[in-house]
């Protein structure tokens, strides 16, 4: 039924002669990375002024919000960059273990205590949070620079002599198109699939950013990123894709717990399953409305491993 609908819509749609990787860079990726760099800068400033948790929360929320539009990119500078900016999922508990060790040992890596003398000389955790915020600012700036001053040109010059990475425009297009679909797969399989676990063994503790109650918000923002990148690539409206994004929002709107903590409740679980199907539906819509008309199938994904 839905396939028929998509096929019918496609026949009416104007098919682009050539999707625009440059527009994706200019309209979404590069401004997104710049906004993330700004947001982490503000967070680091906040933390330098007052590193106590209540003072950091608004800045952390803003930084996370700025991250999601570009956070699922796993290509070139973002492959290593994303690992240390937003390390998740973390099936062996590295983050918990490392933070616990640093705090327990009061590892001097947290920096010069006198820098935060007014608020934090006697509180290691507070200083550590400020140091991590400062490091995040450094990483965000480095990532934005790596794209702006390096990899963006590699994508734009696809097919030009001397570009050994992308031998044609289609190769660059396939690379970024793979990122769009890969991000949506990550959202469905990991952001939603991990806390869902199995019916008999749901795992709410595995939800992304559950402590800050942001798990559901990440799903919405990541889906929106996929939708927006598809539109930027297409250069025109994608009505089927936009309708699918609407269904993601509708499904998300029916979920009451922002961290999926109630996932063990069968009714709550069903609502999360519906959201997962809606994210899969967005994936299908983009593949049909953007990928198929361009004749592009996704390539290998950095997250193909187990």
């Amino acid at each position: 039924m839905r396939l028929t609908f998509i096929a019918a819509a496609l026949m009416l749609a104007t098919v682009p002669a050539r999707a625009d990787v440059g527009a994706l860079l200019d309209r979404h990726i590069l401004p997104g990375l710049a906004a993330f760099a700004d947001a982490t800068g503000a967070l680091a400033d906040d933390a330098a002024a007052d590193c106590r948790a209540p003072a950091l929360r608004p800045g952390l929320d803003a930084a996370f919000d700025a991250w999601l539009p570009v956070g699922d990119l796993r290509i070139e500078p973002s492959e290593t960059g994303a690992l240390s900016i937003a390390f998740w999922p973390d099936p062996r508990g590295f983050t918990q273990r490392t933070l616990a060790r640093l705090v327990a040992e009061e590892d001097p890596v947290a920096g010069d205590p006198t820098a935060f003398a007014e608020y934090a000389t006697d509180n290691y955790t507070c200083r550590l949070a400020a140091t991590i915020a400062a490091d995040l600012r450094r990483q965000a700036a480095a990532l934005a620079t790596a794209w702006t001053d390096g990899f963006a040109a590699t994508l734009r010059s696809a097919g030009a002599p001397g570009n050994a990475t992308y031998l044609s425009g289609d190769e660059a297009l396939r690379a970024v198109y793979t990122q769009v679909l890969g991000g949506l797969e990550f959202t469905a399989d990991q952001r939603l699939g991990r806390p869902m676990g199995t019916f008999d063994r749901p795992r709410p503790a595995l939800a992304e950013a559950r402590r800050s109650g942001r798990s559901l918000r990440h799903v919405i923002l990541a889906a929106q990123a996929g939708h927006d990148m598809a539109l930027a690539l297409a250069g025109h409206d994608l009505p089927v894709t936009t309708a699918a994004m609407g269904r993601v929002r509708d499904a998300a709107g029916r979920i009451s717990d922002p961290a999926f903590a109630d996932i063990a409740d069968p009714a709550a679980r069903l609502r999360v399953e519906v959201l997962q199907q809606a994210v899969d539906g967005l994936h299908t819509a983009i593949a049909a409305e953007l990928g198929t008309p361009m004749g592009i199938a996704p390539g290998f994904n950095a997250q193909d491993g187990d």
Binding site: F94, R97, L181, G197, A287, T292, A302, D304
Partner: protein, 419 residues
């Protein structure tokens, strides 16, 4: 969309008949090499089984060393099979039993105090089943008095739904033969004393009889699991049928296996991630310090599938019409490019292996701030990513070449090509 495909098929019809035969031969070679690799893995695992029987019957330092040697030898053919994992559901569904990694080894046996106890991610991370004949799981009492293959496989493996609870396979056996590597980023592997298998008062680490039972059960299980998989690739086997029934899907399977192992799994999960975490245990064979060989033989397995030529552990060759031949017929320059990429990867992985064998172990390369180690590992990562791009080009080129298609998902759903 349908009309486009029909047109393509019609245009390619003359060529397709000739190429269909070639594709079938390529798939036969692919299956023949799989059969040889899994049979070699089985032969080597049986040798390990004999060494384990010898060790547990009359433990000594020499017999533990002999079992370790047998394990290292068994890894050589097995790692070359990993290219069959992604893309072949029969292999992928089974693989977790024999090569699951990483593992929370405290599930199995005693660990150093620094290992820690249960974590949020895994409440059973320090269960130590060798020391505990009974334990409670989610309120249910589990009887582990007799350590049998069935206990490991059906009860312990991935217990509580946690993938890090690895109770079976090569890495569980590796832990039982070497023990934890407590050298951090320094030189040296695990150093389990042979007396962990000694009888009576000579026993160290406690419960030596249960440890021997565990080692025996895990090794027996490895052998039976490999017997099963080797059978899937013989004439009439299900895995062979799955790749040879549909030529287009079969070729896609070959390329999916090559690309996913190159990129997401080896370059990403096993190499780049470990480097980022700077964790000396974040290496594939962390107890035996054999990770340089894991990566090297994974790379070799990818290469010998493309070339359609595998050198068996007895020195004989299995070869036949290859994917390389098929690509060369369509796009000789692309075939040449792919061959060069594969060689460059073997060069980069060879440098890691060379350095490790000269004493610069993989866990030393992972140390924070070790520029030489980082360059070696990233050299492998970059080469694997570069070869993945060429694999993607081959996928595109073979599509354009009008390879005979029947019943492929990719016709109906282009995005299914790499699922």
């Amino acid at each position: 969309m349908i009309r486009t495909i029909l047109t393509t098929t019609a245009l390619a019809a003359g060529l397709a008949a000739a190429q269909a035969q070639t594709a079938a031969e390529v798939l036969d070679t692919y299956a023949d090499i799989a059969a040889a690799k899994y049979e070699d893995s089985l032969v080597a695992a049986r040798a390990l089984q004999v060494a384990v029987e010898t060790l547990t019957a009359d433990p000594s330092a020499q017999k533990l060393a002999a079992a370790r040697t047998a394990w290292l030898q068994a890894r050589v053919p097995y790692q070359q099979t990993e290219v069959y994992r992604f893309g072949n559901p029969i292999v992928d569904d089974w693989e977790g039993k024999v090569n699951a990694w990483p593992l929370d080894e405290g599930l199995i046996d005693y660990v150093d105090g620094a290992y820690g106890g249960p974590t949020d991610a895994n409440q059973l991370a320090a269960l130590n089943v060798i020391a505990n004949p009974t334990f409670t799981l989610s309120g249910t009492e589990i009887d582990a008095t007799d350590i049998t293959p069935a206990l490991l496989e059906d009860t312990l493996h991935e217990v509580d739904g946690i993938e890090a609870n690895v109770a079976t396979g090569y890495h569980a056996i590796e832990f039982l033969l070497w023990g934890q590597d407590l050298n951090g980023h320094g030189a040296g592997s695990g150093d389990r004393p042979w007396t962990d298998y000694a009888t009576g008062d000579a026993c160290t680490g406690g419960n030596c009889d249960r440890r021997a039972d565990y080692l025996t059960a895990a090794t027996d299980l490895l052998v039976s699991d490999l017997e099963w998989m080797a059978a899937q690739w013989t004439e009439g086997g299900a895995a062979r049928a799955a790749v040879t029934d549909d030529e287009r899907a079969g070729l896609t399977t070959i390329l999916t296996g090559m690309g996913s192992l190159s990129y997401g799994e080896t370059a990403g999960e096993r190499m780049r991630l470990g480097l980022m975490l700077n964790d000396p245990e974040e290496e594939h064979s962390c107890f035996a310090d054999n990770t340089h060989n894991d990566h090297y033989y994974d790379g070799l397995g990818i290469r010998n599938v493309y070339h359609g030529e595998y050198v068996r552990i007895d020195g004989s060759h299995v070869s036949g019409p290859s994917l390389s031949d098929l690509v060369a017929a369509t796009d000789p320059a692309l075939d040449a490019d792919m061959r060069i990429r594969l060689l460059e990867t073997m060069g980069a992985l060879g440098q890691i292996k060379t350095a490790a064998e000269a004493g610069f172990h993989y866990d030393m390369m992972l140390a924070r701030g070790d520029d030489g180690g980082e360059a070696l590992i990233m050299g492998g990562v970059d080469a694997l990513i570069a070869q993945t791009r060429s694999i993607e080009r081959i996928v595109a080129a073979l599509d354009l070449g009008g390879i005979a298609i029947e019943g492929s998902d990719s016709l109906d759903n282009p995005s299914a090509v790499f699922q």
